[in-house]
Amino acid sequence: MKIRLAQYSERNLILDFIRENWQKDHIFVRWPKLFDDYHRNGDKLNYMIAIDETEGKIYGVCGFIYANHKKCPDVWLALWKVIPSGIPSLGMDLVNSIQKNLHCNVLACCGIRKEVKKLYEFMGYKTGTMRHFYRLNRNCSYKIAVVNDDKIPDVVFSTGTQLIEIPSEHAFMSMVPYEKEIFQNAVPLKDKDYIIRKYFHNIAYTYRLYAIKTVRESIDAVLIARIVEANGGKALRIVDFLGDETALQKCGAELDRIMVENACEYTDIYEFGLADSVLYELGMKESNEEDSNIIPNYFEPFEPKNVDIHFFTNQLDNFRMFKADGDQERPNFIYGMEETNEKARSSDVSLCTRSKK
């Protein structure tokens, strides 16, 4: 059994493995172009595989995604699956191989199963659960959220802080001083290539990026969001955040404005690492066991239930995590009219192609 990085020529072998051993209608199986978008790296794939070279059979896979390409990069793990091979530690061997081969500075994963937390802790990683915060739009009918308590925290309306939309990658490069320490000190550090590719060239989703301009006229942070729709309603999901968190805390009124302009019934954020005070001053409420409202996470297909997102990381100091990290923002529906396989042309709503949102 050999554990090594996969070649791009082995892509179909990996997709077959996913289909046979993980999920037969997995989005990667139905939309191979998405798999390439997430994991192609020239003539290689960002996948560690455990393969019996004589049989040509794969016994385990572990995908990964780079946040940056430094000498010791920051990396998130993605799909991880092994099948019986006679080697009980094969799953752990795959993860260890990624660290050994890539010499990661940060190695983390957004969206692990609760029951597997023990495994990561045994391997020396720290685990946690992201916190989920939200803010309802006033004077709104709620079609996505289930609202039993419609109290909305007050926010200060004239902080001078503005959310200015960043319409293109060129605008991002010119508006955002990304070389500043407040951006470069992030853990993990998402480099410009990552941000441009993921948020301006995404093959499935349309993202909205907002530069946070403070009263000092400086751009100290960037907020990244996506509008989702279900049941005839819309929600503004904050999926990533870059920069100084203190800039975020003055944005409550601006977030309200954007919600109203886009007819969104609420805005939410899954996060780890932001100070409580930032989120409360932003006017957010925490979605937890004490809260009687339902702020859903799954939209493809829509499931009206609260969901916890668990994670692991090799380092907690200054560590932040958001919903778009790793592969948590991966679509489950196929978008656009790009390459699809035959199975996507079925009447099952989850397999239909959709217009890019």
Partner: protein, 77 residues
């Protein structure tokens, strides 16, 4: 004695009182024996025998017999 205690642990972790276990028993015989159950086995074994098993050894264990030898090695220290 070590072997008997280990068999009890195996049956508990795999929730199967009728599990047939020999020195050669491996994940080929117990499909649920994967990384997660390996960790659960190690934790329970460390607790039962008051030992600490090196990570390197954890990765090398592939059979019930390997567990027996590892426990013997650690209890003879």
């Amino acid at each position: 004695m070590i072997e008997e205690k280990l068999k009890i642990i195996f049956k508990e972790i795999f929730a199967n009182e009728d599990l047939q276990i020999s020195y050669e028993t491996s994940p080929d015989d117990i499909p649920d024996w994967d990384s997660l159950t390996q960790v659960l086995l190690v934790e329970e074994i460390e607790k039962t025998f008051h030992i600490s098993i090196d990570m390197d050894d954890v990765f090398k264990i592939r059979t019930f017999g390997d567990f027996v030898q590892t426990v013997e090695k650690n209890t003879n220290r």
